[in-house]
Protein backbone atom coordinates (compact mmCIF):
# COMPACT_ATOMS: atom_id res chain seq x y z
CA UNK A 1 0.00 0.00 0.00
CA UNK A 2 3.03 2.29 -0.20
CA UNK A 3 1.70 3.84 -3.40
CA UNK A 4 -1.69 4.69 -1.92
CA UNK A 5 -0.57 8.19 -0.96
CA UNK A 6 -0.31 9.15 -4.66
CA UNK A 7 -4.09 8.85 -4.76
CA UNK A 8 -4.88 10.53 -1.42
CA UNK A 9 -2.52 13.49 -2.08
CA UNK A 10 -4.77 14.63 -4.89
CA UNK A 11 -7.69 14.98 -2.52
CA UNK A 12 -6.58 17.41 0.19
CA UNK A 13 -2.92 18.35 -0.06
CA UNK A 14 -2.88 18.87 -3.82
CA UNK A 15 -6.58 19.51 -4.30
CA UNK A 16 -6.66 20.95 -7.83
CA UNK A 17 -9.51 23.36 -7.18
CA UNK A 18 -9.07 24.72 -3.68
CA UNK A 19 -5.29 24.48 -3.18
CA UNK A 20 -3.67 24.61 -6.63
CA UNK A 21 -6.52 26.74 -8.10
CA UNK A 22 -6.19 25.16 -11.54
CA UNK A 23 -8.84 24.47 -14.14
CA UNK A 24 -11.11 27.28 -13.00
CA UNK A 25 -13.08 27.59 -16.23
CA UNK A 26 -14.88 24.21 -16.16
CA UNK A 27 -15.11 24.48 -12.36
CA UNK A 28 -17.16 27.64 -12.63
CA UNK A 29 -19.03 26.94 -15.83
CA UNK A 30 -20.28 23.38 -15.49
CA UNK A 31 -21.24 23.23 -11.81
CA UNK A 32 -24.79 24.46 -12.30
CA UNK A 33 -26.00 21.21 -10.72
CA UNK A 34 -24.39 18.36 -8.79
CA UNK A 35 -24.83 15.98 -11.70
CA UNK A 36 -23.16 18.29 -14.23
CA UNK A 37 -20.22 18.84 -11.89
CA UNK A 38 -19.81 15.10 -11.38
CA UNK A 39 -19.91 14.39 -15.12
CA UNK A 40 -17.40 17.10 -15.92
CA UNK A 41 -15.06 15.76 -13.21
CA UNK A 42 -15.28 12.21 -14.55
CA UNK A 43 -14.64 13.37 -18.13
CA UNK A 44 -11.53 15.23 -17.00
CA UNK A 45 -10.38 12.22 -14.94
CA UNK A 46 -10.63 9.98 -18.02
CA UNK A 47 -8.29 12.24 -20.00
CA UNK A 48 -6.00 12.81 -17.01
CA UNK A 49 -5.37 9.11 -16.29
CA UNK A 50 -4.81 8.11 -19.92
CA UNK A 51 -2.58 11.08 -20.78
CA UNK A 52 -0.56 10.55 -17.58
CA UNK A 53 0.02 6.90 -18.53
CA UNK A 54 1.08 7.63 -22.11
CA UNK A 55 3.25 10.61 -21.19
CA UNK A 56 5.08 8.66 -18.48
CA UNK A 57 5.81 6.01 -21.14
CA UNK A 58 7.05 8.34 -23.87
CA UNK A 59 8.78 10.96 -21.67
CA UNK A 60 12.23 9.26 -21.80
CA UNK A 61 12.36 9.36 -25.62
CA UNK A 62 10.87 12.83 -26.22
CA UNK A 63 13.51 15.55 -26.71
CA UNK A 64 13.28 18.20 -24.04
CA UNK A 65 12.72 21.09 -26.48
CA UNK A 66 9.57 19.75 -28.10
CA UNK A 67 8.02 18.14 -25.04
CA UNK A 68 5.17 20.65 -24.54
CA UNK A 69 3.79 20.33 -28.12
CA UNK A 70 4.10 16.54 -27.83
CA UNK A 71 2.21 16.50 -24.52
CA UNK A 72 -0.50 18.77 -25.93
CA UNK A 73 -0.91 16.46 -28.92
CA UNK A 74 -1.24 13.42 -26.64
CA UNK A 75 -3.81 15.22 -24.49
CA UNK A 76 -5.72 16.46 -27.54
CA UNK A 77 -5.85 12.91 -28.90
CA UNK A 78 -7.49 11.58 -25.75
CA UNK A 79 -9.89 14.53 -25.66
CA UNK A 80 -10.94 13.67 -29.22
CA UNK A 81 -11.40 10.02 -28.19
CA UNK A 82 -13.54 11.19 -25.28
CA UNK A 83 -15.58 13.49 -27.54
CA UNK A 84 -16.33 10.68 -29.97
CA UNK A 85 -17.19 8.24 -27.16
CA UNK A 86 -19.52 10.74 -25.50
CA UNK A 87 -21.22 11.64 -28.76
CA UNK A 88 -21.85 7.94 -29.35
CA UNK A 89 -22.96 6.79 -25.89
CA UNK A 90 -24.06 9.83 -23.86
CA UNK A 91 -25.15 12.47 -26.38
CA UNK A 92 -27.32 14.26 -23.78
CA UNK A 93 -24.37 14.77 -21.43
CA UNK A 94 -22.21 15.91 -24.33
CA UNK A 95 -24.86 18.45 -25.23
CA UNK A 96 -25.02 19.86 -21.65
CA UNK A 97 -21.29 20.15 -21.08
CA UNK A 98 -20.86 21.43 -24.64
CA UNK A 99 -17.80 23.55 -25.27
CA UNK A 100 -16.09 22.47 -22.08
CA UNK A 101 -15.36 18.94 -23.31
CA UNK A 102 -13.00 20.06 -26.13
CA UNK A 103 -11.61 22.65 -23.72
CA UNK A 104 -10.20 19.88 -21.49
CA UNK A 105 -7.20 20.19 -23.86
CA UNK A 106 -6.30 23.54 -22.34
CA UNK A 107 -7.24 22.60 -18.78
CA UNK A 108 -4.10 23.48 -16.85
CA UNK A 109 -4.58 20.50 -14.50
CA UNK A 110 -3.93 17.97 -17.27
CA UNK A 111 -0.84 19.67 -18.69
CA UNK A 112 0.28 20.54 -15.17
CA UNK A 113 0.28 16.89 -14.07
CA UNK A 114 2.01 15.83 -17.31
CA UNK A 115 4.78 18.38 -16.83
CA UNK A 116 4.98 18.25 -13.04
CA UNK A 117 4.53 14.54 -12.35
CA UNK A 118 4.08 12.07 -15.20
CA UNK A 119 7.33 12.83 -17.03
CA UNK A 120 9.39 12.09 -13.92
CA UNK A 121 7.58 9.00 -12.60
CA UNK A 122 6.76 5.45 -13.64
CA UNK A 123 3.57 4.24 -15.30
CA UNK A 124 1.85 2.95 -12.15
CA UNK A 125 2.58 6.06 -10.07
CA UNK A 126 1.42 8.31 -12.92
CA UNK A 127 -1.82 6.38 -13.36
CA UNK A 128 -2.47 6.57 -9.60
CA UNK A 129 -1.65 10.27 -9.57
CA UNK A 130 -4.08 10.81 -12.44
CA UNK A 131 -6.71 8.90 -10.51
CA UNK A 132 -6.09 10.88 -7.30
CA UNK A 133 -6.06 14.33 -8.89
CA UNK A 134 -9.02 13.35 -11.07
CA UNK A 135 -10.99 12.22 -8.02
CA UNK A 136 -10.03 15.40 -6.15
CA UNK A 137 -11.24 17.49 -9.09
CA UNK A 138 -14.46 15.45 -9.39
CA UNK A 139 -15.13 15.77 -5.64
CA UNK A 140 -14.60 19.56 -5.67
CA UNK A 141 -16.83 20.02 -8.71
CA UNK A 142 -19.54 17.85 -7.20
CA UNK A 143 -19.45 19.77 -3.91
CA UNK A 144 -19.71 23.12 -5.70
CA UNK A 145 -22.50 21.66 -7.84
CA UNK A 146 -24.39 20.42 -4.76
CA UNK A 147 -24.19 23.81 -3.03
CA UNK A 148 -25.29 25.67 -6.16
CA UNK A 149 -28.13 23.24 -6.84
CA UNK A 150 -29.45 23.46 -3.26
CA UNK A 151 -29.36 27.28 -3.24
CA UNK A 152 -30.42 27.69 -6.85
CA UNK A 153 -33.21 25.18 -7.20
CA UNK A 154 -33.67 23.51 -3.81
CA UNK A 155 -32.61 20.09 -5.01
CA UNK A 156 -29.72 17.63 -4.88
CA UNK A 157 -28.94 15.44 -7.92
CA UNK A 158 -32.36 16.40 -9.26
CA UNK A 159 -34.20 15.34 -6.08
CA UNK A 160 -36.20 18.39 -5.01
CA UNK A 161 -36.63 18.77 -1.24
CA UNK A 162 -37.27 22.49 -0.88
CA UNK A 163 -40.54 23.44 -2.59
CA UNK A 164 -40.82 26.61 -4.65
CA UNK A 165 -38.21 28.50 -6.65
CA UNK A 166 -34.64 28.74 -5.48
CA UNK A 167 -32.35 31.75 -5.69
CA UNK A 168 -31.89 31.94 -9.45
CA UNK A 169 -28.61 33.88 -9.22
CA UNK A 170 -26.84 30.80 -7.89
CA UNK A 171 -27.55 28.82 -11.04
CA UNK A 172 -26.39 31.74 -13.16
CA UNK A 173 -22.88 33.16 -13.54
CA UNK A 174 -22.51 35.24 -10.33
CA UNK A 175 -23.41 32.29 -8.10
CA UNK A 176 -20.48 30.28 -9.47
CA UNK A 177 -17.97 32.88 -8.33
CA UNK A 178 -19.66 33.48 -4.97
CA UNK A 179 -20.00 29.78 -4.07
CA UNK A 180 -16.41 29.00 -5.08
CA UNK A 181 -15.16 32.02 -3.09
CA UNK A 182 -17.00 31.05 0.09
CA UNK A 183 -16.08 27.36 -0.21
CA UNK A 184 -12.45 28.40 -0.56
CA UNK A 185 -12.77 30.36 2.68
CA UNK A 186 -14.08 27.24 4.46
CA UNK A 187 -11.25 25.15 3.00
CA UNK A 188 -8.67 27.71 4.18
CA UNK A 189 -10.22 27.66 7.67
CA UNK A 190 -10.01 23.86 7.72
CA UNK A 191 -6.38 23.84 6.57
CA UNK A 192 -5.43 26.54 9.10
CA UNK A 193 -6.94 24.50 11.94
CA UNK A 194 -4.97 21.37 11.05
Amino acid sequence: MSKWHFVTDGFIKNNPTFVLVLGMCPTLATTTSAMNGLEMGLATMFVLILSNIVISLIAPVVPDKVRIPVYITVIATFVTVLQLLMQAFTPAVYETLGLFIPLIVVNCIVLGRAEGFANKHGVVESALDGLGVGLGFTASLTVIGIVREILGSGAVFGWKFIPGDGILAFVMAPGAFLVLGFLMVLFNKYLAKK
Partner: protein, 200 residues
Protein backbone atom coordinates in the same frame (compact mmCIF):
# COMPACT_ATOMS: atom_id res chain seq x y z
CA UNK B 1 -27.00 46.49 -37.84
CA UNK B 2 -26.14 42.86 -37.28
CA UNK B 3 -22.48 43.74 -36.71
CA UNK B 4 -23.52 46.26 -34.09
CA UNK B 5 -25.61 43.63 -32.30
CA UNK B 6 -22.73 41.15 -32.43
CA UNK B 7 -20.42 43.71 -30.82
CA UNK B 8 -22.81 44.70 -28.01
CA UNK B 9 -23.69 41.08 -27.32
CA UNK B 10 -20.07 39.92 -27.21
CA UNK B 11 -18.81 42.75 -25.00
CA UNK B 12 -21.62 43.16 -22.48
CA UNK B 13 -24.35 40.53 -22.62
CA UNK B 14 -22.28 37.39 -23.15
CA UNK B 15 -19.09 38.73 -21.62
CA UNK B 16 -16.50 36.03 -22.09
CA UNK B 17 -15.22 36.18 -18.52
CA UNK B 18 -18.30 36.97 -16.49
CA UNK B 19 -20.95 35.01 -18.41
CA UNK B 20 -19.09 32.33 -20.37
CA UNK B 21 -16.28 31.55 -17.90
CA UNK B 22 -13.50 31.34 -20.46
CA UNK B 23 -9.95 32.43 -19.67
CA UNK B 24 -10.46 32.59 -15.91
CA UNK B 25 -6.97 31.34 -14.96
CA UNK B 26 -4.99 34.27 -16.44
CA UNK B 27 -7.81 36.56 -15.32
CA UNK B 28 -7.21 35.63 -11.68
CA UNK B 29 -3.46 35.31 -12.20
CA UNK B 30 -2.44 38.65 -13.68
CA UNK B 31 -5.16 41.00 -12.47
CA UNK B 32 -3.18 42.15 -9.42
CA UNK B 33 -1.98 45.28 -11.15
CA UNK B 34 -3.71 47.46 -13.73
CA UNK B 35 -0.58 47.68 -15.90
CA UNK B 36 -0.13 43.92 -16.28
CA UNK B 37 -3.87 43.54 -16.83
CA UNK B 38 -3.78 45.96 -19.78
CA UNK B 39 -0.73 44.19 -21.22
CA UNK B 40 -2.41 40.82 -20.99
CA UNK B 41 -5.65 42.15 -22.46
CA UNK B 42 -3.76 43.57 -25.43
CA UNK B 43 -1.97 40.29 -26.08
CA UNK B 44 -5.19 38.27 -25.75
CA UNK B 45 -7.04 40.64 -28.08
CA UNK B 46 -4.34 40.27 -30.72
CA UNK B 47 -4.09 36.48 -30.49
CA UNK B 48 -7.85 35.75 -30.30
CA UNK B 49 -8.60 37.78 -33.43
CA UNK B 50 -5.69 36.29 -35.39
CA UNK B 51 -6.34 32.72 -34.21
CA UNK B 52 -10.03 32.96 -35.11
CA UNK B 53 -9.23 34.04 -38.68
CA UNK B 54 -6.71 31.23 -39.17
CA UNK B 55 -8.79 28.47 -37.57
CA UNK B 56 -11.93 29.63 -39.41
CA UNK B 57 -10.14 29.34 -42.76
CA UNK B 58 -8.54 26.03 -41.77
CA UNK B 59 -11.91 24.62 -40.84
CA UNK B 60 -13.70 25.97 -43.91
CA UNK B 61 -11.17 24.98 -46.55
CA UNK B 62 -9.38 21.95 -45.13
CA UNK B 63 -11.38 20.12 -42.47
CA UNK B 64 -14.92 20.45 -43.84
CA UNK B 65 -14.19 19.51 -47.51
CA UNK B 66 -12.42 16.33 -46.38
CA UNK B 67 -14.97 15.46 -43.69
CA UNK B 68 -12.41 15.79 -40.90
CA UNK B 69 -14.39 17.92 -38.46
CA UNK B 70 -13.67 15.50 -35.63
CA UNK B 71 -10.04 16.66 -35.79
CA UNK B 72 -11.05 20.23 -34.86
CA UNK B 73 -9.76 20.05 -31.29
CA UNK B 74 -6.30 18.73 -32.21
CA UNK B 75 -5.90 20.90 -35.30
CA UNK B 76 -7.01 24.10 -33.58
CA UNK B 77 -4.80 23.74 -30.52
CA UNK B 78 -1.74 23.00 -32.65
CA UNK B 79 -2.48 25.96 -34.92
CA UNK B 80 -2.90 28.24 -31.92
CA UNK B 81 0.33 27.04 -30.32
CA UNK B 82 2.26 27.55 -33.56
CA UNK B 83 0.60 30.92 -34.13
CA UNK B 84 1.52 32.22 -30.68
CA UNK B 85 5.12 31.15 -31.26
CA UNK B 86 5.17 32.91 -34.64
CA UNK B 87 3.62 36.09 -33.31
CA UNK B 88 6.33 36.13 -30.67
CA UNK B 89 9.14 35.78 -33.22
CA UNK B 90 7.66 38.34 -35.62
CA UNK B 91 6.97 40.89 -32.90
CA UNK B 92 10.51 40.56 -31.61
CA UNK B 93 11.85 41.52 -35.04
CA UNK B 94 9.33 44.12 -36.16
CA UNK B 95 8.33 45.95 -33.01
CA UNK B 96 10.62 45.40 -30.03
CA UNK B 97 8.68 47.92 -27.94
CA UNK B 98 5.39 46.07 -28.45
CA UNK B 99 7.23 42.83 -27.75
CA UNK B 100 8.49 44.30 -24.50
CA UNK B 101 4.94 45.20 -23.52
CA UNK B 102 3.25 41.93 -24.52
CA UNK B 103 6.23 39.55 -24.51
CA UNK B 104 5.90 37.83 -21.15
CA UNK B 105 2.18 37.22 -21.65
CA UNK B 106 2.38 35.55 -25.04
CA UNK B 107 3.56 32.06 -23.97
CA UNK B 108 0.78 32.00 -21.37
CA UNK B 109 -1.85 32.54 -24.03
CA UNK B 110 -1.54 29.10 -25.66
CA UNK B 111 -3.22 27.52 -22.66
CA UNK B 112 -5.73 30.35 -22.29
CA UNK B 113 -9.00 28.58 -22.95
CA UNK B 114 -10.55 31.82 -24.23
CA UNK B 115 -8.57 31.48 -27.48
CA UNK B 116 -9.55 27.88 -28.21
CA UNK B 117 -13.04 28.56 -26.85
CA UNK B 118 -13.73 31.41 -29.25
CA UNK B 119 -12.22 29.49 -32.18
CA UNK B 120 -14.47 26.48 -31.52
CA UNK B 121 -17.57 28.57 -30.78
CA UNK B 122 -17.26 30.46 -34.06
CA UNK B 123 -17.23 27.31 -36.21
CA UNK B 124 -19.76 25.21 -34.28
CA UNK B 125 -22.40 27.48 -32.80
CA UNK B 126 -25.32 29.05 -34.59
CA UNK B 127 -26.00 32.67 -33.76
CA UNK B 128 -29.24 34.60 -33.89
CA UNK B 129 -29.24 38.37 -33.55
CA UNK B 130 -32.12 40.78 -33.66
CA UNK B 131 -34.80 38.26 -34.58
CA UNK B 132 -32.89 36.85 -37.56
CA UNK B 133 -32.96 33.09 -38.11
CA UNK B 134 -30.08 31.20 -36.44
CA UNK B 135 -27.16 30.89 -38.80
CA UNK B 136 -23.43 30.23 -38.84
CA UNK B 137 -21.17 33.29 -38.86
CA UNK B 138 -19.39 34.22 -42.09
CA UNK B 139 -15.72 35.21 -41.99
CA UNK B 140 -16.30 38.94 -41.51
CA UNK B 141 -18.82 38.32 -38.73
CA UNK B 142 -16.49 35.81 -37.11
CA UNK B 143 -13.68 38.36 -37.03
CA UNK B 144 -15.96 41.03 -35.58
CA UNK B 145 -17.25 38.55 -32.99
CA UNK B 146 -13.72 37.51 -32.00
CA UNK B 147 -12.49 41.09 -31.75
CA UNK B 148 -15.51 42.24 -29.73
CA UNK B 149 -15.22 39.23 -27.43
CA UNK B 150 -11.61 40.05 -26.69
CA UNK B 151 -12.57 43.67 -26.05
CA UNK B 152 -15.06 42.35 -23.49
CA UNK B 153 -12.24 40.31 -21.97
CA UNK B 154 -10.10 43.44 -21.71
CA UNK B 155 -12.94 45.45 -20.22
CA UNK B 156 -13.71 42.93 -17.48
CA UNK B 157 -10.01 42.38 -16.80
CA UNK B 158 -9.18 46.08 -16.41
CA UNK B 159 -12.26 46.82 -14.30
CA UNK B 160 -11.38 43.93 -12.02
CA UNK B 161 -7.69 44.90 -11.79
CA UNK B 162 -8.78 48.37 -10.67
CA UNK B 163 -10.99 46.90 -7.97
CA UNK B 164 -8.27 44.51 -6.88
CA UNK B 165 -5.69 47.28 -6.47
CA UNK B 166 -8.07 48.87 -3.97
CA UNK B 167 -8.72 45.52 -2.27
CA UNK B 168 -5.00 45.06 -1.65
CA UNK B 169 -4.98 47.98 0.77
CA UNK B 170 -8.00 46.82 2.74
CA UNK B 171 -8.07 44.81 5.93
CA UNK B 172 -9.66 41.52 4.91
CA UNK B 173 -10.29 38.62 7.35
CA UNK B 174 -7.45 36.12 7.17
CA UNK B 175 -9.35 33.22 5.61
CA UNK B 176 -10.68 35.56 2.90
CA UNK B 177 -7.26 36.93 1.90
CA UNK B 178 -6.11 36.51 -1.68
CA UNK B 179 -8.30 34.53 -4.03
CA UNK B 180 -11.51 34.03 -2.02
CA UNK B 181 -12.24 37.74 -1.67
CA UNK B 182 -11.24 38.23 -5.31
CA UNK B 183 -13.74 35.55 -6.40
CA UNK B 184 -16.50 37.09 -4.31
CA UNK B 185 -15.74 40.48 -5.89
CA UNK B 186 -15.96 38.95 -9.38
CA UNK B 187 -19.28 37.40 -8.35
CA UNK B 188 -20.68 40.82 -7.52
CA UNK B 189 -19.28 42.21 -10.78
CA UNK B 190 -20.92 39.37 -12.70
CA UNK B 191 -24.20 40.26 -11.01
CA UNK B 192 -23.83 43.83 -12.27
CA UNK B 193 -23.17 42.52 -15.80
CA UNK B 194 -26.37 40.43 -15.59
CA UNK B 195 -28.14 43.78 -15.85
CA UNK B 196 -27.15 43.92 -19.52
CA UNK B 197 -29.02 40.73 -20.39
CA UNK B 198 -32.07 41.33 -22.50
CA UNK B 199 -30.55 44.24 -24.42
CA UNK B 200 -29.87 42.12 -27.50
Amino acid sequence: MEYFLIIISAIFVNNILLAQFLGICPFLGVSNKLSTATGMSGAVCFVITLATVVTYLLNQYLLVPFGLEFLQTIAFILVIAALVQMVEIVLKKISPSLYQALGIFLPLITTNCAVLGVAITVVTKQFAFGGAAPHMLNLAQAVVYAFATSLGYGLAMCLFAGLREHLAGNDVPKAFKGLPIALITVGIMAMAFLGFSGIV
